[in-house]
């Protein structure tokens, strides 16, 4: 049984999606239990696989038993299966933790989504959960797969479901944003596919490990050819579009800020981060770090400079936003800059790439925490803009506590994971001699201080009365909710189904910070050559 865990991670949500698609439309109450059973099955399979990985090293799984070296029936009797056949799933310490993060985030968001989905269209509940589980299939699959073409298919599974989730039940601007995202996402995925085509042309294989073997053979005889270089550039551009790296980030802010809050809660923490993981995976496991950092030294410098611009631009644009969700979206752009810059700092022996890998985990939970809060504020207090948050510490102290933890992690205050990931990234920047990256990280942290303390101030002391129109308007709207003093704390505060995921996330943010040394040590087992 336990040797089937890797495929079970992906299959459990897939079967769940099929069941909901078939049965859900008859009875909506089926949806939630099926979602939870599927995701908890995945979670336990992830935990099972991860313990195997930590005990005995990377776990390989060959779908359908197409394992190289095994005998398969041929026309003239058994034939030995050559390398590169079949789809390989591979779990090591780098993606094992990411799988765990995906499972936890998706369970939290599914709890958060109870009674939220069907505000606008009650009949769409089963469709929403089908898409939700398919999105989880795609995310798990992207993380676990060891096959370059399979990765493309799973990227498209994820993207297609996310287009639908963004367009579903969103406002006018959300639909337009979803359309732009479809165009950008498709172009990105197509570039990736083209890059894989060039790699296949040169190596004759689609299996990541086998491609690397062929590229590195005879002192990079094939690796130094021009098509491989073209392939690398195409794959990188494709992935950068998917992760909204600086010049290609145009689709992200609108798509994530105008979609329903349950959709943004699952998409914002995971989509961009998994794309960053794919970039690291392609750099390490397909091309190999020697190829990138020794053969093409100039590239890494250029990418780090792009990352610096991404960090500064994301932070500056975030500072200009008055809408909470949009501000968070621009922060994601800056965070993507952190991770890409960190990954390109050079030699994995240094701390940059490990810092980036750890930051993927940290950032997933930080972003989840803040987006959960934004969702709660929007639903419970009808507060989507920063001014609307005035007096929030009094009205919803528990939610605000969660928000403070998320914000402190984003700024980088010691007990939270945000501090340690920044610490590793800065250490990597100093080791690599990229002082501009170090300075950009520090500036971005300062901007985050300004951003979040502005919100704390408004939430604690109330907004300035200058924007009278907004304020009056706002009071009218939330009259029935929270301005009435006679409401008890419990009635004013968000319901338990929102608070459980929120506090679960805050606990993980702090735990990730406390145990950072051990986790980074494990991640480095895979990253160090």
């Amino acid at each position: 049984m336990s040797d089937q865990f890797p495929i079970l991670i992906v299959l459990a949500p897939l079967f769940g999606a099929v069941i909901i698609g078939l049965v859900g439309s008859r009875d909506h109450r089926v949806c939630m239990p099926v979602v939870l059973v599927a995701l908890f099955t995945s979670l336990s399979a992830v935990i099972g696989t991860l313990t195997q990985v930590l005990e005995t090293g990377p776990v390989d799984y060959f779908v359908g038993g197409w394992e190289p070296g095994k005998m398969a029936p041929g026309i003239h009797g058994p034939v030995e299966i050559a390398k590169g056949f079949g789809i390989q799933l591979r779990v090591d310490t780098l993606n094992g933790f990411l799988l765990l993060a995906i499972a936890i985030v998706s369970i939290f968001v599914s709890i958060f989504s109870i009674r939220r989905v069907n505000q606008k269209a009650a009949s769409k509940t089963p469709q929403f959960y089908t898409l939700y589980l398919l999105l989880c299939v795609g995310l798990f699959g992207m993380t676990i797969t060891g096959d370059a073409f399979n990765l493309f298919v799973l990227v498209e599974v994820t993207s297609l479901t996310s287009y639908a989730l963004i367009a579903m039940g969103s406002k006018r601007r959300g639909t337009m944003a979803a359309f732009n995202y479809i165009l950008m996402g498709t172009v990105g995925a197509s570039f990736y596919l083209l890059g894989v085509g060039y790699l296949y042309l040169q190596t004759g294989s689609l299996n990541m490990a086998h491609i690397q073997e062929v590229l590195a053979a005879n002192d990079f005889e094939i690796g130094r050819s021009k098509p491989v270089m073209v392939a690398f550039i195409l794959i990188m551009v494709g992935i950068w579009i998917k992760m909204a790296f600086f010049p290609l980030y145009g689709w992200l802010p609108n798509a994530y800020s105008y979609c329903p809050s349950t959709s943004s809660c699952i998409l914002a923490p995971l989509m961009t981060k998994i794309s960053v993981y794919i970039m690291i995976r392609v750099m390490l496991s397909v091309f190999g770090w020697e190829w990138i950092f020794v053969d093409h030294v100039g590239w890494s410098d250029a990418v780090v400079i792009l990352a610096v611009i991404a960090i500064l631009a994301g932070s500056t644009l975030a500072l200009a936003q008055r809408e909470l969700k949009k501000m968070l979206c621009y922060l994601i752009v800056a965070e993507v800059g952190y991770m890409v810059g960190g990954a390109w700092l050079g030699d994995p022996e240094r701390w940059g790439m490990s810092g980036a890998a750890y930051h993927i985990l940290a950032d997933a939970f930080m972003t989840l925490c803040l987006f959960l809060c934004a969702g709660i504020f929007a639903k419970k207090a009808n507060a989507t803009r920063i001014e609307h948050l005035s007096g929030m510490f009094k009205k919803m102290p528990l939610t605000m506590t969660g928000f403070v933890v998320g914000a402190l992690a984003m700024i980088g205050i010691p007990p939270t994971c945000g501090f340690f990931s920044k610490f590793y990234l800065i250490r990597g920047g100093i080791e690599g001699g990229h002082w501009e990256f170090v300075i950009a990280l520090i500036i971005s942290s300062l901007v985050n201080v300004v951003l979040f303390f502005r919100i704390f101030e408004i939430a604690f002391f109330g907004a300035k009365p200058a924007e009278g129109h907004d304020h009056a308007h706002h009071d009218d709207e939330k009259d029935d909710h929270s301005t009435n003093d006679e409401l008890t704390l419990l009635e004013r505060e968000a319901p338990l189904r929102s608070l459980i995921p929120l506090f679960g996330t805050t606990a993980i943010i702090i735990l990730l910070g406390v145990y950072n040394g051990q986790i980074v040590e494990w991640i480095r087992l895979t990253i160090k050559p």
């Binding site: 003239h76 073409f149 297609l160 006018r172 639909t175 172009v187 197509s190 907004d470």
Partner: protein
């Protein structure tokens, strides 16, 4: 000029066409104002990549579809003991076919493209559904008109 064409364009004709098609598609995706035209551009872009992959599978003159024909194509050489591989080699009466890979087109890129075509159809379907939603909301498919409507709505009520 003729030499240039013979040396650089003729042997790589498929690849030139795929690059040109891809650029047409990319240009339409970015520059066209009508949303349906953008989608057509997107489809051309995806199809160009399919052309690239199919071209990769070609192996020069004489390569055929990858189905081994025991009667015409394969050379029969060494006779294998029928007892050893009885059930598998039964068809040819114990003869072993030496399949010459150069005689057959590479089937793998074609198979990959089957998947890519399915993905392309699904993307187009979702995109058309979204376009339909947009048309219901805005009553137009011209991008500038939609953006103008969004802008007007913004200035009317900045809170939304």
């Amino acid at each position: 000029m003729l030499e240039f064409i013979q040396d650089n364009i003729q042997p790589y004709f498929n690849y030139w066409v795929y690059v040109i098609l891809m650029m047409i598609g990319l240009w339409a995706t970015i520059a066209k104002n009508n949303l349906i035209k953008k989608l057509i551009g997107m489809s051309i872009f995806q199809t160009a990549i399919i052309l690239f992959y199919v071209s990769v599978g070609v192996k020069g003159e004489g390569s055929k579809i990858p189905i081994v024909n025991p009667y015409t194509e394969a050379k029969s050489a060494e006779v294998v003991g029928a007892d050893q591989h009885g059930e598998h080699g039964a068809k040819g009466g114990g003869e072993k076919y030496i399949v010459e890979p150069d005689n057959y087109a590479n089937p793998l890129p074609h198979v990959l493209m089957l998947t890519a075509i399915v993905v392309g159809v699904a993307t187009l379907g979702v995109a058309l559904a979204v376009v339909q939603m947009l048309f219901k909301e805005f009553g137009t498919l011209e991008e500038d008109e939609i953006l103008a409507q969004i802008k007007n709505a913004d200035s009317a009520s900045p809170d939304v």
